[in-house]
């Protein structure tokens, strides 16, 4: 991909990319690695991007981030997974909020399966439409809807 095009298409969406990677990995260092790896892939294979709008570019780049994160997860050993999880329990994320309540909802999110976690992040934090989420996660819109409903139901329990 042309440098200029890369800067126009990818750079505006680094925050969204990092947010998605961070909540999928629950870990800052891995999230940074994933976003950097994903942006390198975007740079390499970006000529395949055919969209025109900023929203298209965001969905396209987030899909790369998401796939990179899934590849990353497959490589994790069980031991690394446990370490990473414990680390996050003591992370400072959300510390600005009421710690007792915040940890409950954060923990509830962290304990969701990746497939549920990603739809929550993409919908509630990044504001993607069902159709965009379906492009990023590569499942039909109906599946996005049912995953959102099930994820919300589980998060709802943390609130009561």
């Amino acid at each position: 991909m042309e440098r200029e095009r890369f800067e126009r298409i990818v750079l505006p969406h680094l925050d969204g990319a990092y947010t998605l990677a961070r909540y999928l990995t629950r870990n800052d260092a891995d999230a940074q690695d994933i976003v950097q790896d994903a942006s390198l892939r975007a740079l390499k294979y970006g000529d395949g991007f055919r969209g025109s709008t900023a929203a298209d570019a965001r969905a396209w780049f987030l899909a790369i981030v998401r796939n990179t994160a899934y590849t990353w997860r497959q490589r994790q050993t069980n031991a690394a997974f446990v370490t990473e999880f414990n680390e996050d329990l003591h992370s400072d994320a959300g510390a600005a909020h009421d710690p007792a309540i915040a940890m409950d909802l954060r923990q509830a999110l962290d304990q969701l399966p990746l497939e549920f976690r990603e739809v929550i992040v993409l919908r509630e934090l990044e504001g993607l439409s069902y159709k965009e989420i379906s492009e990023v996660t590569d499942v039909p819109v109906g599946t996005v809807m049912s995953r959102l409903a099930r994820a919300r139901k589980r998060l709802q329990k943390a609130l009561t």
Partner: protein, 257 residues
Amino acid sequence: MTHPDFEAQVDLYLDGELAPSDARELEVHLVQCAECTRFRDKRLALRAAIKSQIPALRAPEALRRRIQTQRRSGARFRAVVVWRSLALAASVAVVAFGGWQLGVQRGRGEMLASEVLTSHIRSLMPGGGHLTDVQSSDQHTVKPWFHGKLDYSPPVYDFAGRGYPLLGGRLDYIGGRSVAALVYGRRQHVINVVLWPRDRDPRASAPAAQTRQGYHVLRWVTPEYSYWAVSDLGLSELQDFERLLLQADSAAAPQPR
């Protein structure tokens, strides 16, 4: 329409995905149905809680800078491998990687471990061996020696007081890249430690400790560097050395965000 149908509609409605005519129909139903209204209010409460407790994040500045300056492939370095005779019977080598092409490759860790071990064995070969380019126990001599040879400055320490004296450093060639090596000693034993900046880490997966051909190979990461260490030293002593490096690195590291 049954209640589960309405609940699904409430989600669509709140997500802005419901067609206007369906939305009006749902609004009429909500006025009449306490159960659906309760469901909607719970969803609104959840949305508010997510907004306040699960923030969207900003990409760290360091990450943004790395991505803005990255190229299609890492900078390449010409290998400078000068073989010298082996003078030192016992040493620890810290090998720092130059540029590293990012790429997700299976078996990467396996390959790296093998190359690090090969570098270690080669450095100790009598006659053709090559342990140090710069032979010094002074970290302020060894560290500057890498200036101009690599595009980063690997951390160098002298643990002579702890029984792991710094012996020197060298450039080597691993994984298709120019690498720098720092050499330490422990009685009659040799340890090689490989490190490169984490932002070039190929994120190869490898166990924290493994044994190959009678050598112990350790791998660990710090916020700034990925490390490999290899030696015929006993595992527990090698792990003591790993802890020394970790402590020294964390003492020298900038404060976290």
